[in-house]
């Protein structure tokens, strides 16, 4: 029955190693709870109640003030000034109410001696004129967008760009019914019906004019400028939106959500004459049929890079927050984390890669702002949706420990592949070993259905990996790059010179354009 030759093998005794994870994000970026609270209610409970004690610090806006102070907007409609927030542990933080009676403000900006916020119905300037540290002026800076009364019509902002414009973004309404419909406008050709400017990005110019800029947003919960002062927003997966995304906002551009075209014929619209919207095509083909449509600068592949992208913050700390100066960090709601984005311009358009950065926040991250010391303040609230983390709302601060994580710092498109730059020199053998890398590419469907699977997926072959002399960069030659496809890299085999694997070996590059080869 069992022959003797089958016994000719060795059986080794191997100690099962304690399954500890070798490195953790916490070693490099530590979280400090300024204030977090857990409620007895589920985040989606109909009768949600805040924790019985203390302030319902559902932070929906953060403005950095002087000294040890920051101002935060909270969802119930107030602005508070917090002092002592940089202390570690922050045990003596004081809270002072600055403004009340705001209708779900979803942003806060300190600007020209006032605080600016965007409420559901208007952008408002809050000013204390009599020196008691309490706002007495609630001046309407801009209004005029449609508010049908549907809960999903959030309004976000403001954020300041390099030219002094204040930006805001407007959610699309979902499944409008009854009373809501009375407050909509309808575009006759396409038939879409929404509140005015719903699904648009708008700016208020320094002379106070509200100007529509670009359209097609579904749930643009994050706005932020990069180091050049160009303005970006994030969108969240849903109808017309294949997965979460980061976009450069500029004139006349359409992003995803077709119902934003309900405002196409309004005075001031920057998008005209869309006669037909392709529905159900792969993105590259949809872009051909829909000239106003632009791909995002970065896709965040669903699940792998979060489930609901939120705020955008530039690391302007010049090194105080670690090795990522000049890059963008993007909040993640559902998975309670923060992702990182590297952008470059190819043929004048932004594109780039995203990388996991930090998970394990106390709950959903809605707002991010950088403090004077480079640390990131994260405004948290998960009410109405779901998220990881045990808390329901609060404020946390993420501080660099001073240790440099071994990470892919940059991923740049090349005519023949990609160039990876690392945060520290890499081991040559592992870096030049092709089996250290796995690369695949895919795109998405542009359609009105909720989200899209990754389609036309393909594994790519790398033909060479060459390490630079300084040991910091690897040039990967790749066969079969496809424009407008996400290129997903796993560099699991790469080791630092100390033999460490990458803290996050994944990178997702949105290759809208392949750079042309330049003659040497």
């Amino acid at each position: 029955m069992v022959t003797r030759c089958q016994f000719l093998f060795a059986v080794l005794c191997v100690l099962v190693c304690a399954n500890a994870h070798a490195q953790s994000e916490e070693d490099y970026y530590r979280l400090i709870d300024v204030s977090v609270a857990e409620t007895l209610s589920q985040s989606r409970a109909k009768n949600w109640k805040p924790a019985p004690d203390g302030l319902a610090l559902e932070v929906s806006g953060i403005a950095i003030l002087d000294g040890n102070r920051i101002a935060v907007a909270i969802r119930k409609g107030e602005v508070w000034i917090l002092d002592g927030v940089y202390d570690n542990p922050p045990k003596d933080v004081t809270y002072h109410r600055f403004a009340t009676a705001l209708h779900e403000p979803l942003g806060l900006l300190a600007h020209n001696g006032s605080l600016y916020t965007v409420q559901r119905t208007e952008m408002t300037r809050l000013t204390d004129t009599d020196g008691d540290d309490v706002a007495d002026e609630y001046v309407t800076v801009a209004k005029g967008w449609g508010v049908t009364g549907h809960y999903h019509e959030y309004a976000y902002g403001p954020e300041l760009d390099g030219e002094g414009n204040l930006w805001l973004t407007l959610n699309i309404g979902l499944g409008l019914q009854g009373e809501h419909l009375k407050r909509t406008i309808q575009e006759p050709t396409l038939g879409y019906r929404q509140g005015r400017w719903r699904g648009w990005g708008m700016k208020v110019t320094p002379d106070g004019k509200l100007v529509p800029v670009c359209a097609g947003m579904r749930s643009p919960a994050g706005i932020g400028a990069n180091a050049e002062g160009d303005m970006f927003y994030t969108d969240q997966q849903g109808n017309w939106v294949a997965t979460n995304s980061l976009h450069h906002m500029r004139d006349g551009v359409m992003f995803h959500h077709a119902e934003a075209l309900a405002s196409m014929n309004e005075p001031g619209s920057t998008i005209h004459e869309v006669k037909e919207v392709p529905n159900g095509l792969p993105l590259p083909q949809a872009l051909e049929k829909f000239p106003q449509l632009r791909p995002p600068a970065v896709w965040f592949p669903y699940k792998k890079m979060g489930q609901s992208a939120t705020d955008i913050v530039l690391d302007a700390s010049e090194g105080k927050f670690g090795p990522f100066a000049g890059q963008l960090f993007v909040g993640e709601f559902t998975q309670a984390g923060i992702n990182r984005v590297f952008l470059e311009k190819v043929d004048g358009e932004y594109q780039g890669a995203c990388f996991p950065f930090r998970t394990g926040m106390a709950t959903a991250v809605l707002r991010l702002e950088q403090g004077h010391d480079g640390s990131l303040f994260a405004g948290l609230t998960n009410r109405g949706w779901s998220s990881l983390g045990s808390a329901s709302y609060g404020l946390q601060r993420l501080q660099w420990t001073g240790k440099t994580p071994f990470e892919i710092l940059e991923m740049r498109a090349q005519p023949d592949g990609f160039e990876l730059t690392f945060t520290e020199p890499v081991d040559k053998k592992s870096a030049e070993d092709l089996s250290s890398y796995q690369l695949s590419s895919y795109t998405y469907l542009y359609h009105e259905t909720y989200g899209s699977d990754e389609i036309q997926s393909r594994d790519l072959t790398m033909t060479s990996a060459k390490l630079s002399d300084d040991g910091l960069s690897v040039h990967l030659k790749v066969d079969g790059l496809r424009p407008l496809f996400v290129h997903e890299l796993h560099a699991n085999g790469v080791r630092s010179r100390d033999g460490n694997p990458l803290l996050h070996p994944q990178a997702y590059y949105t290759l809208n354009r392949i750079p042309a080869a330049t003659n040497p």
Partner: protein
């Protein structure tokens, strides 16, 4: 390496490395009850026949002893580690203590066994099945490769809180939050064994043994254990390990905890599988009849002699000796005694109890007591807590008794509970898991039959007759007598209270049971914290419904049945409004919100004088005035769907739609509908030292400052201050004070709408015909003349 050396290595790794453990199968119901003669020997034996899968090979028609079956081996290849399978096949009990898997290789000569195990494990490794994709949605966070990202500390907390330790062993270093011991526990502590026996409390005092864990790190990968926890019945359709409906992240956390904790011992490495080995393994798999218990597609079963034909007392019977070509069951004396009893002719008194048998098999008793048997074991109780550590006694933290449950809950509800759709105790950390429907579908009717609720009495026959209106009113009042102290009402409670929500009680509870329970709770539920409101059949409250117990119970049923459409009990409504009702004291209170009348740009201002108004900042108009209570802010502050806020007070004045101010190019021009058309822009407001907002609008080159406050006659006085801001301020700015049908001018400065609101202005107004109605306009432009500032004061009385 020679065969000899290799065998030494095997001995080290397979036999010596394992700690000494009981080498008999662990069947929960048998260990807890059978071993202590708390169930009949025959019942215990039948349980073993089923749980040890005797009847997988020895078929029988007896529904009570159908085999539980073994794990589904489809996917064994990526679910289980080959090395572990090898070791497990060689010695099931030492590899997985307590397993019901018999020694399948014992039929072979010792020197053949290892080769067979190697071949079988090689074959099983080829049985691959991809892990299911866990769909991430907005409601279900799923991290990338979540199984690798578990948090052991969180997993440990979940493991101890959600119910795993009702059956499995708690961790010795897990710290329990101090829970007040229940009266029973206190009693058990004080009694000695004889006293316990005398009082029939021996079982309650006894430590309940745990279903052992094996070396999980050796058996599973992080991915496979996480997926097993997510959907245990995919692997074990017998439901002995139920489905806790974990999220991906919860499962990964528990898996991380288990894999880190149960990783002791050494691991062996198996040789690479060759095609030859796989074929050999498959052949053995067929030959040994593994498929009788482990369903694998394409392999035929091997029935053995039917159960009825077995001679349990024969010398070569498996319970007597270890002879012949059969799997090896290592049983102790009590177990073989029980199995023999199961073969004995049924006595006349022993009537088959399918419900009891099901509860033993599924180990319902691990959590639930029924008929004095079972319930969470003595030393396990402290792990289960009430959310927020609110003290509502054991009923608030331990699973409910099932004694009489068939008379309490209707079958439809029981079915939902068993399907995981009826979680009425979200305030407990322990959760009711879901069992496979095939295993539980007969339970609701079995409970109903056993507890004599086969034909429930309709509520009309149970409760005293009472007209609906007085029933609802009285029922609501009665709730405040005590119910509100411990129960939720449609999601609302008194502060700090958690408890079963009474919403839906009428859909799940039998009317007669409700009636009897309210009459005297302790009759149906010994030691309940629910007090009686009718001591000696007399109501504690003689004011309501004449103190008639029957009428009061009927009223409570009526109110609870209609709870979703009824106002909350007063005490809860009061507590809610303390948190969310805005009551201006000292200073005015402002709330921006959605309002049905004032629209989506409403700014409501409430005053301590109890006269309030709402401004529509979109159209720019005074939209509403009212007296009494102001507004409830809960919907605005905390409700996801942002419901509009209605004035809470009364004497509501609704003013006409359309802007209050407009530039009219011709005096007869139609009054505009929207602010844009009127040429007016809302500019925000300023708060003065009293906290009163002054609204500002720009219209026709003028800035209008608008301050509205209560006046001495409980109306509103509106003061408009106009300032020239533009170089070309228009003289054609009008203020439309009132519009509607039946408008009467009562004097140059006074006007009334029907029999309602009267306005009096410091500046004369003019009545004109609007489009099918009347309008009273004040020509602000001409009032201003050439000045740079002017004031107009208007009183609204209603």
């Amino acid at each position: 390496m020679t065969k000899f050396k290799w065998l030494i290595a095997l001995c080290v790794s397979v036999f010596i490395a394992s700690p000494a453990l009981a080498e008999i199968p662990f069947v929960s119901g048998f260990e807890r009850f059978g071993r202590h003669e708390e169930i009949a020997d025959r019942t215990a034996g039948q349980l073993l026949l089923s749980e040890l899968n005797c009847t997988s090979c020895h078929k029988t028609n007896d529904p009570l002893i159908q085999p539980k079956g073994g794990p589904n081996l489809a996917g064994a290849g990526n679910r289980l580690q080959r090395e572990w399978m090898l070791r497990f096949l060689m010695n099931p009990q030492q590899t997985k203590p307590g397993t019901t898997m018999p020694g399948i290789l014992d039929r072979l000569y010792p020197e053949q066994q290892l080769g067979a195990a190697v071949a079988l494990s090689a074959y099983l490794e080829t049985l691959e099945q991809p892990f299911p994709e866990i769909r991430a949605t907005g409601a279900n966070p799923v991290l990338f490769e979540f199984w690798n990202r578990g948090d052991a500390a969180r997993g440990k907390a979940l493991y101890h809180q959600i119910g795993c330790v009702a059956c499995h062993e708690p961790s010795e270093d897990y710290e329990v939050v101090a829970v007040k011991p229940s009266p029973l526990d206190e009693l058990l502590e004080q009694l000695d064994p004889d006293e316990l026996k005398e009082m029939g409390l021996s079982a309650a005092a006894r430590k309940v043994q745990s279903i052992p864990h094996s070396n999980l790190a050796e058996k599973y990968t992080r991915q496979s254990l996480t997926h097993f926890l997510l959907k245990p019945d995919a692997v074990r359709p017998d439901g002995r390990m139920p489905d806790f409906q974990l999220t991906a992240v919860d499962a990964a956390d528990i898996s991380e905890f288990l894999i880190t904790k149960y990783s002791e011992g050494q691991r062996i490495e198996a040789p690479p599988a060759t095609a030859e080995l796989v074929a050999e393994g498959r052949k053995l798999f067929e030959e040994f009849g593994c498929v009788n218990c482990h369903n694998v597609k394409g392999i035929a079963t091997h029935p053995a002699k039917p159960l009825a034909e077995l001679a349990v007392d024969a010398e070569n019977s498996c319970v007597s000796s270890r002879l012949g070509n059969q799997p090896r069951y290592v049983l102790d004396e009590q177990q073989t005694h029980a199995i023999r009893a199961a073969f004995a002719p049924a006595g006349t008194t022993a009537k088959p109890d399918a419900l009891h048998s099901n509860m033993l098999k599924l180990n319902c008793f691990a959590c639930h007591e029924r008929g004095g048997q079972g319930g969470v074991g003595r030393y396990r109780r402290p792990y289960f807590e009430t959310l927020g550590h609110v003290d509502i006694g054991d009923e608030g933290r331990l699973p409910p008794t099932l004694s009489g449950v068939g008379a309490k809950l209707n079958e439809k509800w029981l079915t939902s509970v068993l399907q995981g759709k009826g979680r009425v105790r979200p305030h407990m950390t322990i959760r009711m898991p879901v069992f496979p429907a095939t295993m539980t579908k007969s339970l609701p009717s079995q409970f109903a039959a056993a507890d004599e609720l086969a034909s429930p009495k309709p509520s009309a026959e149970v409760f005293a007759k009472l007209d609906e209106k007085s029933a609802l009113e009285a029922g609501r009042l009665l709730m405040d007598v005590g119910c509100v102290q411990c129960h939720e009402f449609n999601g609302e409670t008194l502060p700090g209270t958690v408890g079963v929500d009474l919403l839906g009680v009428a859909d799940r509870i039998d009317p007669q049971w409700f009636h009897d329970f309210l009459r005297n709770p302790a009759d149906l539920k010994p030691r309940t914290r629910m007090p009686t409101f009718f001591p000696d059949g007399k109501s504690a409250n003689q004011q309501i419904l004449g103190g008639d117990m029957e009428l009061q119970i009927a009223a409570m049923w009526a109110y609870i049945k209609n709870l979703s459409k009824q106002p909350l009990p007063q005490k809860i409504a009061d507590a809610r409004s303390q948190n969310y009702e805005l009551t201006p004291l000292g200073k005015p209170v402002v709330l921006r919100t959605f309002m049905p009348e004032a629209g989506t740009h409403a700014i409501a201002v409430g005053f301590p004088q109890k006269v309030h108004f709402a401004l529509d900042a979109e159209t720019v108009r005074l939209a509403q005035g009212w007296r009494g209570r102001f507004l409830d802010a809960e919907g605005t502050w905390f409700m996801r769907f942002a419901p509009p806020a209605d004035p809470l007070g009364n004497e509501v004045l609704n003013l006409s739609a359309g802007p209050d101010f407009a530039v009219l190019t011709r005096p007869e021009a139609k009054w505009p509908v929207a602010a844009e058309e009127a040429g007016i822009q809302f500019q925000g407001y300023r708060l003065d030292a009293e906290g009163v907002p002054t609204f500002e609008y720009d219209v026709g080159g003028w800035r209008i400052a608008d301050r509205i406050v209560p006046n001495e006659s409980n109306g509103l006085t509106r003061t408009l201050t106009l300032t020239r801001v533009g170089s070309e301020a228009s003289s054609q700015v009008f203020y439309r004070v009132l519009a509607g049908n039946g408008l009467k001018q009562l004097g140059p400065n006074k006007c009334q709408l029907g029999a309602g609101v009267v306005v009096t202005s410091s500046t004369a107004g003019e009545l004109r015909d609007g489009n099918g109605h009347h309008e009273w306009l004040i020509p602000l432009g001409s009032a201003i003349g050439n000045g740079t500032e002017t004031r107009v004061e208007v009183e609204y009385q209603w």
